[in-house]
């Protein structure tokens, strides 16, 4: 009966929540709109145009190499990070989940540390190690890639481990009983079951790499290894044109398309596996939450 009374404070809470949603998203929408400005102003919208995307012969994203280069660098870094961090992370997740002993505990702690280390500490550490110790590694793109992979591995491990704990050993045991050897059981049974989690971690690596600013900046050697966040940072403080907004908008659209289609594919995979457990919410949570907030909220 109490429940039927619409709580007055729930109305207040709803107001705060919707105001928060507006506060968090409207500025970005305004920035996107400014990217379609016909004039040079980045504070006031005049009339719509594609000027800063293609039509301006010198300053549009399409024609300005100092904007295209960061876009290429960012996408290359993200793609290669996914390619390297995912297999290393998946293997490490399976290993750590089952390996028993003192060394395994230490390895587990080692794996968790990058998640809580402020990026500036990691950025400085990598900067110093590449200038003082691993001096043979070509500075710039290569060191940035190594840094992004280091940052990403732990996210993959945490996401995949969460799924491993949920699957349990039964399926593999069944496969072994039916005559599969360990590797076959892993390849034919475990990896397909891990599919959605692997997919989710690939997306998190992608987003993490694209968004990374600190490590990219500390390991960059100048214009040739500039990334989109670095470009936004250096351009936004100086006198920039709306082309900078156009660049940011392009990046955002790419991210949303990639993540959106990934969420769709994952939904299909889950549906085919028939593991209807919290499918809708699970997708959102897995794709949506970077691993550190996932473990902050209790590991699953």
């Amino acid at each position: 009966m109490r429940r039927n009374r619409p709580d007055r404070h729930a109305f207040g809470l709803a107001t705060i929540t919707w105001l928060y949603v507006l506060w968090s998203l409207v500025p970005v929408l305004v920035a996107m709109r400014i990217s379609f400005n016909s004039g040079k102003s980045r504070s006031a919208f005049q009339s719509p145009s594609w000027r800063w995307y293609f039509t301006d012969p010198a300053q549009s994203v399409w024609h300005d190499d100092t904007l295209v280069q960061p876009l290429k660098n960012t996408l290359k870094l993200a793609a290669l990070s996914m390619l390297f961090a995912t297999p290393i992370g998946v293997a490490m997740a399976i290993g750590l989940q089952r390996w028993r002993g003192r060394l395994s505990k230490a390895s587990n702690a080692l794996m968790l540390f990058p998640l809580v280390t402020p990026e500036i500490v990691m950025g400085v550490a990598l900067f110093l190690v590449f200038t003082q110790v691993y001096t043979g590694v070509p500075r710039g793109f290569t060191t940035q890639l190594l840094g992004h992979i280091t940052l990403s591995i732990s996210y993959v491990v945490v996401i995949v481990r969460g799924r491993l704990a949920a699957i349990g050993p039964q399926y593999e045991e069944a496969a072994r009983d039916l005559g599969a050897n360990r590797l076959q059981a892993m390849r034919l049974v475990l990896l397909p079951l891990l599919g959605p989690a692997i997919f989710a971690s690939v997306m998190v690596v992608f987003a993490g790499s694209i968004d990374d600013f600190v490590i990219s900046q500390f390991l960059s050697t100048g214009a040739s290894s500039e990334t989109v966040p670095m470009k936004i940072y250096s351009g936004g403080r100086a006198t920039a044109t709306p082309a900078l907004n156009a660049l940011a908008t392009i990046m955002l659209v790419i991210t949303l398309v990639v993540v959106g289609s990934a969420a769709l594919v994952m939904h299909r995979m889950r549906a085919r596996q028939g593991g209807g457990e919290d499918a809708q919410l699970g997708n959102l949570a897995v794709v949506g939450q970077p691993a550190n907030t996932r473990i902050a909220s209790g590991g699953r």
Partner: protein, 306 residues
């Protein structure tokens, strides 16, 4: 039983699983542990007398702590780096307070009240994670220009509207930090509140407590662990932030934080030793928070495994 859930099928060959985690472990040793050791080796090392470049010392036996001593003196000197440390603490503290003030009601509402709109609201809470942090800051740089929409809004409400907000004002930085990191605060808190045992709250109501009292005596105490985890995960990156304040104030020295000093000494000048010492001091400051977070995480892992 504790072993059963995660244990290896046919688990007596433990070594196999160790080998499987080896690439990851080796990677993190080479590119996480060694680099961190390099920071110490530079901080406690020597400086080339002519080139003024860092000359790291690898053996802890011959470490020299005088440079660190100097930096520590400066950190405790309120006319020197002490001011920066206090400012950093004040900014991070205020931004965290803002996160709690705005984030708790939002997380609470979405977790416990929003029924019809829950999916939409969840998507809205998740969306900022997929928008580049610096794009979100760029959006504010656009809005806060002297002739920008924010000033026009103020002018329309007859509240002034000609101020340059990007000129090194601390409120801009604090609100900017809160804006940047609040998604990291809300989502874990939401997950924690969503798992709260409803029966305890209902019991409170059934025993005659008013909603306010139930909140104060039941809900709030139960959400402390979630609040702690959310706060730690928000505060850790904020302490190392140097780009939000610099981006929102065009690099004004009046809003410099510890991260700016670290960046300055490492990238701006040739005093990597001072920068490395500051990184160690920052890490020491944050060690308690990091440890807390790791312990909570390992416990959660174990809870899932059993």
């Amino acid at each position: 039983v504790a072993n059963a859930a995660g244990a290896a099928p046919g688990g007596h060959r433990n070594g196999f699983w160790g080998v499987l985690s080896l690439p990851g472990v080796a990677w993190l040793m080479a590119l996480f542990v060694v680099p961190f050791y390099a920071v110490a080796a530079v901080a406690f090392g020597r400086v080339d007398p002519i080139l003024r470049t860092a000359d790291p010392v690898w053996s802890p036996l011959s470490w020299n702590f005088s440079a660190m001593g100097n930096v520590l003196d400066r950190v405790f000197d309120p006319n020197d780096l002490g001011a920066v440390v206090i400012r950093t603490l004040a900014y991070v503290g205020s931004a965290l307070a803002l996160c709690c003030l705005v984030g708790y009601p939002v997380a609470y509402y979405v977790a416990r009240h929003a029924s019809r709109w829950r999916g939409v609201l969840l998507a809205a809470l998740v969306l900022p994670f997929w928008i580049s942090y610096l794009m979100r800051m760029l959006a504010w740089v656009n809005l806060l220009q002297v002739d920008g929409y924010f000033n026009r809004l103020l002018g329309w409400m007859h509240l002034g509207g000609s101020r340059n907000w990007l000129d090194g004002d601390w409120p801009t930085v604090v609100i900017g930090l809160a804006y940047g990191y609040i998604p990291f605060f809300i989502l874990p808190l939401y997950a924690a509140l969503e798992r709260l045992d409803k029966r305890l709250i209902e019991a409170g109501r059934d025993l005659g407590a008013s909603p306010a009292r139930v909140f104060q005596r039941v809900t709030l105490p139960l959400s402390v662990p979630g609040l702690m985890a959310a706060s730690v995960i928000t505060v850790l990156p904020m302490f190392g932030d140097y780009y939000t304040n610099s981006f929102l104030t065009s690099g004004s020295p009046r809003t410099e934080m510890l991260g700016n000093q670290i960046e300055f000494y490492l990238r701006g000048t040739s005093q990597p030793q001072t920068g490395a010492s500051l990184v160690l001091i920052l890490s020491a400051m944050l060690l308690v928070l990091m440890t807390y977070y790791l312990v909570v995480t390992v416990r959660a892992q174990r809870a899932v495994a059993t």
